[in-house]
Every structure is written in structure tokens, then in C-alpha cells.
Amino acid sequence: MIGLPAYLTLAALVFSIGLFGVLTRRNAIGILLGIELMLNAVNINLVAFARFSGNVTGLVFTLFTISITVAEVAVGLAIVIAIFRVRRTVEADRLDLLRG
């Protein structure tokens, strides 16, 4: 029988992999993909806790997280495309317009 700690460990591993992607990718779209992985790991945690405590609130929270993530990706990619039009690059290192 698979218990709660196994699911939480799996989620922690996926979260760490996503964090690694966010830290090491240069491309802004690649960074967004890493953020997707991290949010996904959080969803696994929420659903696992909801399942093992028998409480429906975690499931509702997961639904809200998924919807907000979709909105976030849409706006984030629109910003990426807008930046690309102006700067001709999506490399996060070279987007330093606001650096003092």
C-alpha cells in the first residue's frame, strides 16, 4: 500500500527538478516550463493531503491552482512574445532593461 510519504517524496523530487530548470535555463520559455513543473508538484501534494485526510478543500484548491496557472502561462507567454518583438531575444540574461 502506497502511503502519504511516498507521494510527498515524489512531489518534492519533481519540485526540485523544476527548481533546477528555473535556475539553469537561459531561455524565458524554458524558465516557464520549470515553473510549470514546480506548480505541478504542489498540486500532487495538495491532492495527496486531501485524499489521506478525507477533506475536499484540497481538491478545490487544486482546481483553483490549475486555473490560475493556465492564466499565468497565457499572460507570461504573451509578455515573452512582446519582449521578443522589441528585443529580438528571449534569453533572460539579456533582458536587463530595468537594471540600474
Binding site: M1, V14, N40, A48, L59, V70, V75
Partner: protein, 164 residues
């Protein structure tokens, strides 16, 4: 080994392998395809946790919606730049150290936390319970979510509009 145990390990291996591929593959387009695989594997994890409704939402919104949007963005930027986008990574060692440190921190917390919860048999239909919760105590949150989606749609249109 019950069916649930075998399923969990298979899904865990697929999820971790595709997640690693997302952050390591040099081709951005392949990374998105691996992300789709990872999102579907997460949906199967939801199925293992007896949540078929969340599995459907995961497939529709994440694997269907997000992946489509990202593929569109990559194709648009590739078309504008006129060449294939390659993914390069930097500070691989530092990133690995930080990520491993975060995992060790979380794992250490998991070991110390009293998590030996019983495995309650969930005989109630969670889909109906989710529906009642969404339109009962969480009704205002649901309405706010609708407003947020409209705002995100307008914002995306504003950012991606053409110049004229």
C-alpha cells in the same frame, strides 16, 4: 505487490524521467513534449489517488491548454527569429546544488513529521463533493476566478496585439 503499488512506481519513474528531460533537453520543442508527458503522468497520479475528476481537468487544462499555448509561442518566436531555438543552460552545478539542498530540506522535514496516517477508504463520490464545495462555501472564490480568467485573456490580447 498490489496493482496500486506497481502503478505508483511506474508512474513515478515516468514522471521523474520526463521532468528531468524537460529541464535537460537542449531542444525547446522537445522540452514541451516531455512536459506534456510529465503532466499526463501527474494526472495518472491523481487517478491513483482516486480523483478521476481532477485527472480530467489535468488533461483538459494542462496537457491540452498549456502545452498548446507554449507550442504556439515557440513556433511564433522561431518564425520571427528565422532559426531553430536552442536551449542552453548555465550554472548547472550551482543549480543542482540548490535544488538538491531544497530536496534534502523537504525530505528531512518529511522524515521528522508524523505522517503515518491511516489509508481511509473514500467511498463517497468526490466529484459531487467538489461540485457542492465549489458552489457552496467557495462560490465567491469561483466568481473571482472567472474575473481573473477574463483579465488574463484581455491582458494576453493587449500584450500580443499588433502595432497598428
Amino acid at each position: 505487490m498490489t496493482l496500486e503499488t506497481v502503478g505508483f512506481w511506474v508512474v513515478a519513474v515516468v514522471l521523474l524521467a520526463s521532468s528531468l528531460a524537460v529541464v535537460l533537453t537542449p531542444n525547446l520543442f522537445h522540452a514541451v513534449l516531455y512536459l506534456a508527458a510529465a503532466l499526463v503522468a501527474t494526472g495518472v497520479v491523481f487517478l491513483l489517488l482516486d480523483q478521476p475528476f481532477l485527472f480530467a481537468v489535468q488533461l483538459l487544462l494542462y496537457a491540452g491548454g498549456v502545452v498548446t499555448i507554449v507550442v504556439f509561442a515557440i513556433m511564433l518566436t522561431e518564425r520571427l527569429v528565422g532559426e531553430r531555438l536552442v536551449q542552453t543552460s548555465r550554472h548547472l552545478v550551482n543549480g543542482a546544488i540548490v535544488a538538491a539542498a531544497v530536496f534534502v530540506g523537504v525530505a528531512g522535514f518529511l522524515i521528522r513529521a508524523p505522517l503515518e496516517a491511516p489509508h481511509p477508504s473514500q467511498s463517497v463520490d468526490t466529484t459531487a463533493a467538489i461540485g457542492r464545495a465549489l458552489f457552496g462555501p467557495f462560490a465567491i472564490t469561483l466568481e473571482l476566478l472567472g474575473v481573473l480568467l477574463v483579465v488574463a485573456l484581455l491582458g494576453a490580447l493587449y500584450f500580443a496585439r499588433s502595432e497598428e
